[in-house]
C-alpha cells in the first residue's frame, strides 16, 4: 500500500521562487525498510528540486522494477511517473524524451535493474547521450527478492547468509565514461551535502548525466564483510572534490583557487564549481578519471563526487535535427502531408 500524506501544510513553510514549499516536492509515504539508503536519496531529490525552483510538472520520473524503482512514488507527487518493466527504464525514457524535449527526465534504477537485466538498454542510452538524469541506487543486492548478490557486488563481499561473492563487480561509472557519458558522478546516500548539488548539476546538464549512488540495504546487505554496508562505505569513501552548483540567476561568489578549481558553465547559464581534493585528477580528462577510479579500487577506496564532465555536448534531439517544438504538440497541419501530395505519391506507383 502507498500511504498518502495529509495535504495540510504549515502556512509559514518557506517557499521557493516558483512558489512551492519543500513539502510540495514530496510524494507518498515510503514503504521501503526503515533506514533504507533509497529514502535518503529520495530526500536529496526533493531537496534538489526545491532548491532549483523546479516546476514539478516540468519533470517526468521514470523507473524500472525493484526497490529503487518504487521510489518515484515517494517524491514529486505533482510530476508524472512511470514505473515500467524490469531493466527497461532507458527505452521508455528515450521514447518520452523524443516525444517532448522540453521536460526534465529523471530515471531511477537499481544495480539489478541497470547492471544485469537492463545493461543493454543502459549502455545504449549512454551511447545516444540521452538528455536525462540517470540515478542508480546501488546496494549490491536484490532487496525485493531477499538479498541475492547483484552484478555490482564486489569480489569477496560477504552477503547476509555468509556467501562470498566470487565474481567481479561491474563498475558502472567506469563503464559510463568508457561509453561516452558526458556527466558521471558517484555519491553516497548518507552524504546529502555532496548528493544534493550533484543532482542539481545533473539536472542542468544537457546530455546523459549519470549518478551512481551507494545506498546500503539495511535488511539484506548491511552485515560485516559486505562492501556495500553503511559502515564499510563510510570508512572507504574519498570525496574527490567539493562541488558547488550556482544557479544561473545567482551572483557568483565562489572562492576560485588556481590549480584547484574547475569552473564549468552549463548550457542554461548555471555554473559548476569544483574544488579538487584528489591529486592528479582532472574531471574533464577522461583518462585521468578512469585512472583515479582504478587506482582507488586497488586501494580499497571509493572516490565520490562529480568524476567526469564534458560540457561540449549535443543531445539526441540536436543530433537528430528535430524541430524545436515538442513532437507531442504537433498537429495535423505539421504532420499530415495531405491529399494533394498523396495523389502525386499514387501517380509514382503507376
Amino acid at each position: 500500500m502507498s500511504f498518502i500524506k495529509p495535504n495540510f501544510r504549515h502556512p509559514a513553510l518557506p517557499k521557493n521562487q516558483v512558489g512551492y514549499t519543500k513539502a510540495d516536492y514530496e510524494g507518498a509515504i515510503s514503504t521501503l525498510c526503515a533506514g533504507c539508503g533509497h529514502d535518503s536519496i529520495t530526500a536529496a531529490i526533493v531537496q534538489a528540486c526545491f532548491e532549483i525552483d523546479l516546476e514539478p510538472h516540468k519533470l517526468a520520473k521514470i523507473s524500472g522494477i525493484g526497490c529503487s524503482s518504487k521510489t518515484p512514488a515517494y517524491f514529486l507527487r505533482n510530476s508524472h511517473g512511470f514505473n515500467s518493466v524490469h531493466g527497461r527504464m532507458p527505452s521508455v525514457t528515450t521514447g518520452a524524451y523524443l516525444a517532448n524535449r522540453d521536460l526534465i527526465y529523471l530515471g531511477v534504477s537499481g544495480d539489478g535493474d541497470t547492471a544485469s537485466i537492463g545493461m543493454g538498454q543502459f549502455v545504449h542510452a549512454v551511447r545516444r547521450n540521452l538528455n536525462m538524469v540517470y540515478i542508480v541506487m546501488n546496494n549490491g543486492c536484490y532487496g525485493l527478492t531477499k538479498g541475492q548478490d547483484s552484478a555490482t557486488a564486489d569480489t569477496g563481499s560477504i552477503n547476509k547468509e555468509g556467501g562470498v561473492n566470487q565474481f567481479a563487480g561491474i563498475d558502472l561509472c567506469s563503464l559510463a565514461i568508457e561509453l561516452g557519458a558526458t556527466f558521471v558522478g558517484r555519491s553516497f546516500s548518507g552524504d546529502k551535502h555532496q548528493l544534493v548539488p550533484l543532482i542539481k548539476a545533473a539536472m542542468a546538464h544537457p546530455g546523459f548525466a549519470f549518478l551512481d549512488v551507494l545506498s546500503p540495504c539495511v535488511t539484506f546487505n548491511n552485515n560485516k564483510g559486505s562492501t556495500k554496508s553503511y559502515d564499510y562505505v563510510r570508512e572507504h569513501i574519498e570525496a574527490t572534490s567539493e562541488l558547488d552548483f550556482v544557479p544561473h540567476r545567482d551572483e557568483i561568489t565562489i572562492n576560485y583557487q588556481e590549480g584547484k578549481s574547475v569552473l564549468a558553465p552549463l548550457h542554461d547559464g548555471s555554473l559548476l564549481h569544483l574544488h579538487k581534493l584528489a591529486p592528479g585528477w582532472d574531471p574533464t580528462e577522461r583518462k585521468s578519471v578512469i585512472s583515479l577510479i582504478q587506482t582507488s579500487r586497488t586501494n580499497g577506496e571509493i572516490p565520490t563526487g562529480l568524476l567526469y564532465l564534458d560540457t561540449h555536448t549535443r543531445d539526441l534531439h540536436e543530433v537528430m535535427g528535430t524541430v524545436k517544438e515538442p513532437l507531442n504538440a504537433l498537429t495535423e497541419k505539421e504532420l499530415c502531408p495531405g491529399a494533394g501530395v498523396l495523389k502525386e505519391i499514387n501517380d509514382s506507383f503507376r
Partner: protein, 605 residues
C-alpha cells in the same frame, strides 16, 4: 496448344541474388501493368545478400485473379545453379527461355516443354566491354526477348527506361541497345509472338502497383506518427524505411531543415517497443514494425501497455515460424502469439489488411484506435503483402480527417474538476481519461505502473479493487469490438448453408476459389475478417451457417482457435483450410481442400 491465350499466365524469372535482376523484373511487371492488364508479383528470395538463387514470379490475369497459382507457364532461367529444378517446374506445353551461350546439357532436355535459347551472355560480351555491364545488360537482353515473344508494347518499356534513368540519361541508349539485341535475336530465330501472349486491355483502372510495407509506412506518416523506433528484421524493415523516406520529403521544414519526426534504430525489439510506449505515454503518436520473433521479444512490454493502458502501434509483418523459421517466406502464423501476447489475462486489438490500400488505411486507423482505446494495436500483415508488389486501389486521404486523440484531459479541464482519477470509468465504456506529463502544475499527475492499482493509480493489493480493474478492461474490450473495422461480407444475404471466412492475404486465393466453385454450380457465402476483437457480424455469420471453412496460412489453425475461443463456437462447425509451406496460398489448394473435406458431395448446387 497453338490456340492463342491472351493475358493469362504465370511467368517466373530464375535469377542469382544480387545481380541486378530485380530492377529488370520490376520493369517487366510495370510494363504489363501499364498495358492495362492486372498483374501481381511474388519475390521468392533467399535469406542471403548475394549468390543464392532467387525467383520472381508474376501472375498475369485479365480477370483480376491475382493470388498465387501453381504451375509455371513461362520460365526465364538465367541461373545455372537452379536449372534442373527450373526446368522441372514448367508445366507441360510451357516455355523455357534460357541463356544458350553454353549448350544445355542433354540430360536437362524435356519433351513436353518448348525450349527457347537466347545467347544472352554472348550478345552482351559482343557489345559491351566491361564485365559489370555485361552482367547488368544480360537482364535487359531477356526483357528485349520477352518484348517480342510476349507481344509487349516496346514504347511502354522505353518509357519506363527513360524514366528510370532520367537523372543519368547517358544510360538510356545502352539499355535500348541491350533490349534490341534480345528482340532481334528472337525475331530471327523463333516465331513471335508466342501463342501465350499479352494484349492491351483497360482493366487496371486507377489502381496502383505498390508493396504493402511502403503503404504501411505512408499510412503511419499520414496518421501522424512522430516517433518511430524499430529494429531491423526481415520482412518488416522496409516499413520503417518507407516512413523515413517519405518523412524526409514531407516532414522537413523547408526553411530550417528541421524534422517533425524522430526515428530511432533501437538496440533490440524490446527497446523499440519501450520507446514507442514511452513516446505514446508522453503524448506523441508512435509505432514500431517487426515480425514474429520481434513480437515474442516485445511481449512483456505489450502486457505493460495493455494493463497500464498506454497507446502503442505495432506492425507485425509475419514470416514463416517457429523460431527463426523461414525469414524470407510468408505465413499467417502469429495470430495467437499476437492476440494474446504477454502473461496474465492480456489481449490485443489486431487489424488484418489484405491490400496495400488497406495497409495504408489501417496503419493510420491503428494510431487513432490506439489513442482512443489506450491500448496496443497490432497491424497484422505478412511477407507476401508487405514485400511484394500488389495491384491495389489508390491510397486515399480526406483532408478533413482529424486525428482522434482519445480521452485526454487538458489543463482547463483539470482545473474544472474536484479530483482526477486516471482509472475512473467516467463514461461507462471502460475507457478512462489520461493526462499527458507537463499539462498542469498541480493537477492530473499520477504514476503509471504495471502493478495492480486503484482508480487513482495508487498501488493496491485489494482483491475487489484488482478484480474491478481487470473487469473494466474486459468492458473496454467490448467497446473495442464496436470500434474496430467491420468485416467485409461478400453477399447481401445468405445464399448458402456453407460459409467461408478468410483474412489478410488469403483473400486473393479464397475469392478465386469461390468463383471456381461457382462455375461448378456451387455457391458458398463468404466473409473477410478485418479486425480482432470480432464484432457481432462475425458471430452472426458463423451462427447463420451450418458449416464454415476457415482459410488461413498456418499449421495449427490459429485463427480458427481464436474464433472458437472468443465466440464460443462449436469447433466442429469450423472446417480448417490451411497452407503453411511458406508460399502464398493458392486458389487450387483451397478448392481441393473444400472438395476433399466435404467428400465432394456435400456441396451440390
Amino acid at each position: 496448344m497453338n490456340s492463342v491465350i491472351f493475358n493469362d499466365f504465370v511467368i517466373r524469372f530464375a535469377n542469382v541474388n544480387g545481380t541486378g535482376s530485380a530492377s529488370a523484373n520490376d520493369m517487366f511487371s510495370k510494363a504489363v501493368f501499364r498495358m492495362g492488364i492486372p498483374v501481381s508479383a511474388k519475390n521468392i528470395f533467399p535469406s542471403n545478400i548475394q549468390g543464392l538463387p532467387t525467383w520472381f514470379e508474376l501472375r498475369v490475369n485479365e480477370h483480376g485473379y491475382l493470388g498465387r497459382r501453381e504451375g509455371i507457364d513461362i520460365m526465364v532461367a538465367v541461373n545455372p545453379q537452379s536449372l534442373k529444378e527450373d526446368i522441372e517446374s514448367v508445366r507441360a506445353g510451357g516455355y523455357f527461355i534460357y541463356d544458350n551461350t553454353k549448350n544445355l546439357h542433354p540430360e536437362f532436355h524435356k519433351e513436353d516443354i518448348h525450349f527457347i535459347g537466347v545467347p544472352m551472355m554472348q550478345l552482351c560480351m559482343d557489345h559491351f566491354s566491361e564485365p559489370r555491364q555485361q552482367q547488368l545488360f544480360k537482364n535487359m537482353v531477356y526483357i528485349g526477348a520477352l518484348i517480342e515473344l510476349l507481344n509487349i508494347e516496346p514504347e511502354v518499356v522505353h518509357d519506363i527506361i527513360r524514366h528510370q534513368f532520367r537523372k543519368n540519361e547517358k544510360l538510356v541508349p545502352p539499355n535500348f541497345l541491350a533490349l534490341d539485341l534480345g528482340r532481334n535475336y528472337v525475331k530471327e530465330h523463333y516465331e513471335c509472338p508466342l501463342p501465350l501472349r499479352l494484349e492491351r486491355r483497360d482493366k487496371v483502372g486507377d489502381q496502383i502497383m505498390i508493396d504493402g510495407n511502403t503503404a504501411t509506412g505512408l499510412g503511419a506518416l499520414y496518421g501522424g506518427a512522430s516517433v518511430v523506433a524499430w529494429y531491423p528484421i526481415t520482412p518488416s524493415t522496409s516499413v520503417a524505411k518507407a516512413f523515413e523516406t517519405y518523412a524526409k520529403r514531407y516532414r522537413k521544414d523547408p526553411d530550417t531543415g528541421k524534422l517533425s519526426y524522430a526515428i530511432v534504430q533501437a538496440e533490440d525489439e524490446l527497446a523499440a517497443i519501450g520507446m514507442v510506449i514511452g513516446a505514446a505515454w508522453n503524448g506523441a503518436r508512435a509505432f514500431t514494425a517487426t515480425s514474429g520473433p520481434g513480437v515474442s521479444l516485445m511481449s512483456e512490454f505489450l502486457g505493460l501497455a495493455y494493463y497500464a493502458e498506454i497507446p502503442a502501434v505495432l506492425v507485425n509483418v509475419q514470416r514463416g515460424g517457429p523460431s527463426t523459421g523461414m525469414p524470407t517466406r510468408t505465413q499467417q502464423a502469429d495470430i495467437l502469439s499476437s492476440a494474446y501476447a504477454s502473461h496474465g489475462d492480456t489481449k490485443h486489438v489486431l487489424l488484418f489488411p489484405s491490400t496495400p490500400a488497406e495497409c495504408f488505411e489501417m496503419a493510420a486507423d491503428a494510431l487513432d484506435l490506439a489513442d482512443h482505446l489506450q491500448t496496443p494495436v497490432i497491424v497484422m500483415t505478412d511477407l507476401d503483402l508487405g514485400m511484394n508488389f500488389h495491384l491495389s486501389p489508390p491510397l486515399k486521404w480526406d483532408d478533413k480527417r482529424k486525428y482522434k486523440r482519445g480521452k485526454v484531459y487538458s489543463a482547463a479541464e483539470l482545473d474544472s474538476m474536484q479530483k482526477y482519477g486516471r482509472y475512473l470509468d467516467v463514461d461507462d465504456d471502460g475507457i478512462c481519461y489520461r493526462t499527458i506529463p507537463g499539462t498542469h502544475p498541480t493537477k492530473g499527475a499520477f504514476t503509471t505502473r504495471g502493478t495492480s492499482r486503484d482508480e487513482y493509480a495508487r498501488y493496491t493489493e485489494d482483491a475487489a479493487m484488482y478484480a474491478r480493474s481487470i473487469d473494466r478492461l474486459a468492458k473496454k474490450w467490448k467497446t473495442a469490438a464496436g470500434l474496430v473495422p467491420k468485416p467485409e461480407v461478400y453477399q447481401k444475404k445468405n445464399q448458402s448453408s456453407t460459409g467461408l471466412i478468410c483474412f489478410g492475404t488469403s483473400q486473393y486465393a479464397a475469392m478465386e476459389a469461390l468463383e471456381l466453385l461457382e462455375k461448378q454450380g456451387v455457391k458458398i457465402d463468404s466473409l473477410r475478417v478485418r479486425a480482432f476483437p470480432f464484432n457481432d457480424t462475425v458471430a452472426d455469420f458463423i451462427e447463420s451457417h451450418e458449416q464454415v471453412f476457415v482459410v488461413e496460412q498456418n499449421r495449427d489453425k490459429q485463427f480458427r482457435s481464436l474464433l472458437v475461443n472468443e465466440l464460443e463456437v462449436h469447433p466442429k462447425k469450423l472446417i480448417p483450410v490451411l497452407n503453411y509451406d511458406g508460399m502464398p496460398i493458392t486458389a487450387d489448394s483451397i478448392l481441393n481442400q473444400i472438395l476433399e473435406k466435404t467428400n465432394g458431395t456435400a456441396l451440390t448446387a
